[in-house]
Subunit: 354 residues, 2 copies
């Protein structure tokens, strides 16, 4: 039976991408060699890397606007320190909207002073702080656009006269934004982009080269840019699958098209959460994520029944994070509308049963 | 036609590993989910990670001897800085045997004082320095066991009373050594271990925690050990394929068995290089690598003919690195003896023709 994969990440990828990826492991580019055993400097792979980079700029509408695209390793967690190493000279401002923001702050503090402009930690991050000020003399402002664990999402971004850095790991390519507002965007691949193992960085080149510290080569955006993400061997397979996923999104009509589907999926699940008396949502309504819907059963006695119904319906990966409990339906780009329909039917059926 | 893949890395993997990896991209563990879309904290993947770790210790004969195994990201190039961040307090000694040693030295220098105990740079690294002294009051000694670019390999390792750190990226699991002599071994996966995208670290735990600097979490071996390589999302696919390759090696009879095959492959190619008047070897005979044989045509006019014969014979990836020129036959564990036989026949045929 086909699974309905609500996993929070690594998460569902388009079936056609998986088919092509599987084939490339055996025979890539009809060269009778596996993608895994060719040189990363061979033309077929250099083409993959360049195409992936071009697709990122095209989909984000950032072509010709001074941005560079990198495919690195180490996940967003490595970006927590790379951002600070490359941009932090004296002080930076961070918005604390959840575990990932909190970790980003902790890592950056190793290098210099960090100021939390606002935090929703006091309410276990169930909302996005608003109305804070960003000092204009800081090196940069950092925020997390979507909080997978708590199911909140920034609907708008503050006006910001200093470089704006955003961790978009869990909602990049899912909704239209004016991406020119951002100076540095990073994202672990394993949600909307590809498999675990590569990290996307989109950076406006003119914000770099302004700190006085000596940066290790692997951690230096300028070095990585000068080597086109090939300072050392890149994660070939993860970059290839990301390229396939970006191409899939483009063929579908790009972010504009997928956003419409994502909107419908989110409306469906949140409407069920709000109308079904057995469930309650976790995140503040105004800040609800289109990617991760977090909710709880009001009566935990129904847990076993609901879990069994989900399992029998082919629902996978619905468990909430341990710091929130309950359930989390992650509805990344590749999750079909049908999967949300199946989940909502099961929630509704539980109401009839109970 | 089946290719004979002499690529220096990413390089040939066993065919049965590729078949299983290709299948897992579509359906892993018979769960009707792709390996790329499951949680890294799901039991099936945690089992993969643990099995891979156990296989490393078993194959290196390091079980129960105080070593921990990590599967990280960022390649050996990231280890250049992690080694220094975690171990370098005042001064370390490095042996410079080629480009990779040189880069390791450069990155470590950012953190503290580095002393080159010896170097073969003056002879474009065509030999391995010997008879040097390692100061006993240094933090550690670092060397590179095999130099892919130049085709040299350390046949023995110096007596060392301080922690011995070795970059074994290109010859780990290829020959028997007393691995207990080493305190930290690291290796990018893309030669004898798996696809590009993960880096193996084997570290004796008692050498850690002795530096005074604050280490970023992602760069801290102790943090990575405490989280079993899952401080953040690991490169799931690369770890899985590495596990399959380690299992393949174990089933074959382990390092003892593969070393015999590697010996025969190396004897075959070097004997042809030495006996065939059209070719000359690059590396000093005493230091020749069993993994990468570097050689040149004495008369470059034969290049086009030889290249054509190679191509027609299905030989792939034989070009030498730009800093040495000529040819490089990389003969990693997964390269069949037959491939070397085919290459040697072509070299011999060229002699008949010329």
């Amino acid at each position: 039976m086909k699974k309905h994969n609500f996993s929070a990440g690594p998460s569902i990828l388009p079936q056609e991408v998986l088919l092509k990826a599987s084939e490339a492991v055996l025979n890539f580019n009809n060269d009778n060699l596996s993608l895994l055993e060719i040189s990363h400097r061979s033309k077929p792979f250099v083409d993959v890397m360049e195409h992936a980079r071009a697709l990122v700029l095209e989909l984000l509408n950032l072509e010709g606007k001074g941005y560079k695209v990198l495919f690195l390793q180490g996940g967003a967690s490595t970006q927590f320190l790379m951002v600070a190493l490359n941009l932090l000279e004296k002080r930076a401002g961070y918005l604390n909207t959840g575990s990932w923001s909190d970790k980003a702050i902790k890592e950056a503090k190793i290098y210099d002073d960090i100021y939390e402009v606002a935090s929703s930690k006091n309410a276990n991050y169930n909302y996005i702080p608003k109305g804070y000020d960003i000092p204009t003399d800081y090196d940069y402002f950092h925020c997390t656009s979507n909080n997978t664990i708590f199911g909140t999402q920034m609907k708008s971004f503050p006006k910001c006269s200093i470089p704006l850095v955003c961790d978009m790991s869990s909602d990049i390519f899912s909704r239209q934004l004016d991406f020119t507002k951002f100076d540095l965007i990073y994202a672990g691949a394993q949600k909307n982009l590809g498999p675990a193992g590569t990290t996307l960085v989109v950076v406006k080149e003119d914000i770099l080269g302004k700190v006085s510290r000596k940066i290790p080569s692997m951690m230096d955006y300028k070095v990585q840019i000068s080597k086109s993400s090939m300072f050392n061997t890149p994660p070939v397979f993860a970059v290839y699958v990301s390229m396939l996923t970006l191409q899939w999104l483009k063929d579908l009509g790009g972010i504009e098209a997928i956003e419409k589907v994502n909107d419908i999926k989110a409306r469906l699940i949140y409407s069920e959460i709000d109308l079904n008396p057995l469930f309650k949502g976790y995140a503040s309504k105004a800040d609800r994520s289109l990617m991760n819907a977090t909710f709880n059963l009001i009566n935990d006695d129904l847990k076993e029944t609901f879990d069994t119904m989900c399992r029998e319906g082919g629902i996978s990966g619905l468990n909430g994070h341990r710091s929130v409990g309950g359930y989390r339906a992650s509805m990344y780009n590749a999750l079909p509308l049908e999967s949300v329909q199946v989940l909502v039917e099961i929630m509704s059926e539980l109401e009839t049963k109970a």
